[in-house]
Amino acid sequence: MTVRIYVPCDAAALALGAERVAKAISEEIAARGLDAKIVRNGSRGMHWLEPLVEVEVSGRRIGYGPVKAKDVVSLFEAGLATGGDHPLCLGEVEELPFLKRQTRLTFARCGVIDPLSLDDYEAHGGLAGLRRAVSMLPADVVKEVTDSGLRGRGGAGFPTGIKWKTVLDAPGERKYIVCNADEGDSGTFADRMIMEGDPFVLIEGMAIAGLATGATKGFVYTRSEYPHAIATMSRAIDIARSAGILGTSVLGSGKAFDMEVRTGAGAYVCGEETALLNSLEGKRGIVRAKPPLPAHKGLFDCPTVINNVISLASVPVIMDKGAAYYRDFGLGRSRGTIPIQIAGNVKHGGLFETAFGTSLGELIDDIAGGTASGRPVKAVQVGGPLGAYFPRALFDTPFDYEAFAAKDGLIGHAGIVVFDDTADMLKQARFAMEFCAVESCGKCTPCRIGSTRGVETADKIARGIEPKKNRELLADLCNTMKFGSLCALGGFTPYPVMSAMTHFPEDFVPTPLIEAAE
């Protein structure tokens, strides 16, 4: 029987040399005349082990990693094709604690299957959700999603089912499903991993959304920084169309739904839903005032569902296993699972999908193994460039929308960036303002002007110019931006700034020049 050897084609694996590894393995297979083939899977999300090569031996997947091209000959010498022992051998991949501790619902297939094989997809439970949705009334599909408790995974946490119901109830000849795959937050890569590792789940989720709301056209708006995701997603859409999953009659239901990928052009603010819609329409990515809500007047003024990749990719499992199954995970009003992305200065970085409720400390110290540098953790930024910096004192915070909000933070798209004790929090606060100034769409004054003034004020604090007065000014600016901005860019930039100032006041007190001179 042909041996299947898995070499990921996820961008993170490619960035660490997976292509060279695949080439070396392919040469070695040919040279040895082995009956083996290479399958390019997505990533399992254990990025410190990438490139993670796996081989299937009597139904079990044995892992080796991190593999470099120069290791390949010795791996074959050691009997890679039969799961032979080698210093890089990790044993059965599913048994690795990092994976075993997870609850993989949305990412169940990611890293397991060939992302572009529909057979693999179906063999691992794919399309069951869409098949069930096809046989149901739209309102019942919406009810199922509402009952699951799924909330927007892009960061805002708005109940997905309510959004869908609004679009279902909105009159309109033409409706759209827009997938927000403009994953610009530093520390996040879940959307990219799904699009590269299991694109059919997103297609299935969008098709279900189409059936549920009466929308016939979908767009995946992603980033130009994600060329691999764009390529995989586009190919998957073509395959799905050929297979009758998309097109004039979704799975023979007689209902139409089709979709395409659109690429942004390097504007962070287009991750904001209304700016994204303008960008899709071919306009400047300027934020729109709400109301009207996109659900009433969205893309080209038509009723539009706009959901994050992970929200839509979580729908198939909900439709397959039922709302109660999904809702039983999590705590409080945060139901289901959340793919947490652990990044930055961290030993075991990657994607960890788990039910809501795991504490921040457990995630950083235990699961991620602390910093890569081996130095103490000083701060973690949760939720991207607009998320708060939390000190160790807040590590008991459970990963949950409300718990983070109560500590003046947000979980956002669930990215965690870890910093060791060399981080300068005043510099990080300044960067948050600088980033906002660079990326502001310019429509509202607090964001456009406030961010520039914020950079200047942070610089004054750093130079020791009237530090007390300027700290107060910075706090005042943040207050204006928080309450006066039109969208989350200006409105949330105060989170990293204020949290840095509140939790790390020592970094905002410059060493007086006179002392430095002594």
């Binding site: 961008a11 993170a12 490619l14 960035a15 660490l16 990025h47 410190w48 990438e50 994953e183 610009g184 937050d185 530093s186 520390g187 996040t188 890569f189 959307d191 990219r192 980033r223 130009s224 920084e225 994600y226 060329p227 691999h228 659109r262 690429t263 942004g264 052009a265 390097g266 504007a267 962070y268 960008s279 899709l280 329409e281 071919g282 306009k283 400047r284 990515g285 080209f300 992305q341 652990i342 990044a343 930055g344 200065n345 961290v346 970085g349 990657g350 994607l351 890569a372 930024q381 460039p385 990215g415 960036v417 870890v418 060791d420 990080q428 960067f431 980033f435 660079v438 990326e439 769409c441």
Partner: protein, 159 residues
């Protein structure tokens, strides 16, 4: 990419691109992407053609082109090196690395080396935050890069 194109040629190729993509809903960004792929930047003389074909004002097209960081109004070097400047990469020494690269190339962000080999651009997140610092050379991604890796990439590109 740093090729000199004749004016008439630009118009013909631009019109062909527009004809190919005009049927899309919201075709402007896809058209601009194609134009930049074709010429390496968005030449000024394409803007009136796009405006006319899409029934937009020239000001609207100009507004869109200048809004997005990706679109350039001038040619770039033969290779484009993008370095991530976002937080995850900062936490792994990205700032110091960027300073090294700038010094090595003798240019600042958005600059092109005098030999026309490399243009250096900042990027805010490549989604490789668990393998920081990260870089992209001509669309190819590189993770956990250090100064030596980047020096090797640069000398490779200069060959």
């Amino acid at each position: 990419m740093n090729i000199h194109v004749a004016k008439g040629d630009i118009a013909t190729r631009t019109t062909a691109i527009i004809d190919h993509l005009k049927h899309l809903e919201g075709p402007l960004l896809p058209i601009l992407h194609e134009i930049q792929d074709e010429f390496g930047y968005v030449p000024q003389e394409t803007l009136p053609i796009i405006a006319m074909e899409l029934n937009l004002s020239r000001a609207e097209v100009h507004g869109v082109v200048t809004f997005y960081h990706d679109y350039r109004d001038h040619p770039v070097g033969r290779h484009v090196l993008k370095l991530c400047r976002a937080e995850a990469c900062q936490s792994m020494g990205g700032d110091a690395l960027a300073d090294r690269v700038k010094a090595l190339l003798g240019i600042d962000w958005h600059g092109t080396t005098p030999d026309g080999a490399i243009t250096l651009e900042p990027v805010f997140c490549l989604g490789l935050c668990s393998c920081s610092p990260s870089a992209m050379m001509d669309g190819e991604v590189h993770g956990r890069v250090d100064a030596a890796d980047l020096e090797a990439l640069i000398s490779e590109a200069r060959r």
